[in-house]
């Protein structure tokens, strides 16, 4: 056997670890830049310095009002939603043992859409007004959010309960998720069929996704759930590595696979459902950001999960900033932008990056 060849494995490992830390640092700096840029541009343009001064309370009254009251909630929403969706997506892919694991695979997005449609059509939360700047605004957004969240959690609850009977196998979770998603889609279609024109447009605009629906209260609620979830995911990153190596291996390494899978699924679903119910459906982030990050820094979940969160935040914030400025004063649905920016980048990385599955 070879004993004297090659460099010290520990040295090589640490070099690789520094590279991963560097990625985290660069993504964080990008996020800061994106925040300042996003705070500075809009219908009344500020310089980056003015935006920064407004943010820390050293600017004039107008810039402080614009930055702190109008733009900041939107920016923070995009950061939380991007980070939460991406980290939850990465976790789902691992616990479901499926590279296309996402809120759509589990039917969470579809259930949220059904909940929103139910609120609009059955509970009469469907009065909308439309303007050039705000596109369509739903007048009873709390009821719609509550119903979307409730429907997502009911759907997730069914999946988790059935999975418990099947010893939390990923196959049973995915199959139940697909069935629940299909059921929710059928329910939404039925709602849409009986809806009037105003209700129909309300349902459709809800599904587009919009970072501008949230005030500080909703932002804090999202943060209160997403931040502990991110810490929980990262705390379990090493054990998720074992889960990626198969259940038998994970068990033999002392990991309680059933508990880790159910809690991971439950937490990821909760975060996703809460975010979707406040901002609408944002495709792509949960599915693709983890893959993009894997291509760049590899598959070690201890780094992947925080890096996905940061990258998701950057991508969604940039997308939202472009969405509200590109053909201003019209605000484009941000989901269109996340896909337009992310899909080509992802395809490039699929072709050029390392193979990991």
């Amino acid at each position: 056997m070879k004993k004297d060849e090659g460099s010290d494995p520990l040295e090589a490992y640490q070099k690789e670890a520094y590279r991963k830390w560097a990625f985290l640092a660069i993504t964080f700096i990008l996020l800061i830049i994106a925040v300042l840029v996003s705070l500075s541009i809009g219908s009344s343009d500020l310089t980056i310095m003015e935006a920064f001064k407004g943010l820390i309370g050293r600017g004039d009254e107008v810039s402080e009002t614009i930055v702190r009251n109008i733009r900041l909630p939107r920016v923070v929403t995009a950061i939380i939603a991007g980070a939460g969706l991406a980290a939850a997506g990465a976790t789902m892919q691992t616990v479901l043992r499926n590279p296309i694991g996402s809120p759509v695979t589990l039917g969470i997005s579809q259930a949220a859409a059904f909940g929103a449609a139910f609120a609009v059509v059955v509970l009469g939360a469907g009065t909308v007004h439309s303007g050039m700047v705000d596109a369509v605004v739903n007048d009873n957004i709390y009821l719609v959010s509550l119903c979307a969240f409730a429907a997502s959690m009911i759907s997730t609850g069914v999946i988790v309960l059935l999975a418990r009977f099947k010893r939390a196998s990923p196959e049973s979770m995915i199959l139940t998720g697909v069935a629940m998603g299909s059921l929710a889609t059928a329910g939404t279609t039925a709602m849409e069929y009986f809806a009037d024109d105003v209700q129909l447009s309300s349902i459709i605009f809800w599904t587009f996704g919009d970072m501008g629906r949230t005030g500080w209260e909703e932002v804090f609620l999202m943060l209160a759930v997403t931040l502990p979830a991110l810490i929980y995911f990262t705390w379990n990153g090493w054990r998720y590595n074992a889960l990626d190596s198969g259940d038998e291996t994970a068990k033999s390494l002392g990991v309680n696979t059933e508990r880790l899978r159910l809690l991971g699924m439950g937490t990821a679903s909760l975060v996703t459902a809460l975010i979707i119910s406040f901002v609408g459906i944002i495709g792509f982030i949960g599915l693709v950001v983890p893959h993009i990050v894997r291509k760049v820094i590899g598959t070690d979940q201890r780094f992947l999960l925080p890096a996905s969160a940061l990258a998701g935040a950057v991508l969604l914030l940039i997308s939202d900033t472009v969405a509200r400025t590109i053909i201003s004063p019209v605000v484009l649905p941000v989901g269109i932008l996340t896909s337009f920016i992310g899909a080509p980048l992802f395809i490039y990385l699929v072709v050029r990056g390392k193979e990991h599955w």
Partner: protein
Amino acid sequence: MVTLELKDLHFSYNGIKALAGVNLSMRGGDLVGLVGPNGSGKSTLLKNLDRIIVPKKGKVLLDGKDLSSMKRREIARRIGYVPQSSVNLFSKTVFDTVLMGRIPHGSWAPTRSDLRKVSDIIVEFGLQDLSGRGLNSLSGGEKQKVIIARAVAQEPEIVLLDEPTSSLDLANQIDVMELIKTQTEKGILAVMAVHDLNLALRYCDRFVLLKAGKVVANGDSDALSRTVLEDVYEIKAKVLGNGKEKVFVPLSRR
């Protein structure tokens, strides 16, 4: 030296019996070859020994302590397991794979000493040139060595191996068996399910022959007599040589 005792162990898959009252006693320093035809219960027995699956009846005692009373993490600190196949979602590097062996000893992240230990094991196994490569990109032989290295990183007293040489060429079979032998020389008990009787005869200290979930023979190479093997495998065969040089030649079906 560690001892592992099995008392009246039963297991069934959806009502189909896989183990039907297995009684065994094994001790540290031995390489035990678990042999028998397909479906005789070798893999099932190994998984029961690590509580990857839970016996329907009976006990596994590790140094006299019932495995069912131990936490999964505690078991993982004392027993390592090498599965038959390792298909990874999102392939990890060799270093990260071996590092997983430290999970039962750590909390959320490896310590500096974990990293040092893993690095040393990688060098000991001659895997340093592959350290940064993805597991799924390795050859069968390389992969098997990495998985055994991961089990060794657990610093276990017992290693269970499910057909570790089944898909390897002759040179790699010898490499892997030598690696396992090195571990048993340190006092570890290795229990290995194996199809290749001649490889088992060459390396194992003891043999447990299973048929239909029951122990048919248990002892040194003398326990694997021609008549017993012919009966268990339902074939005609010839046995040449003795002890470690004993060779079993299958001739025809009976």
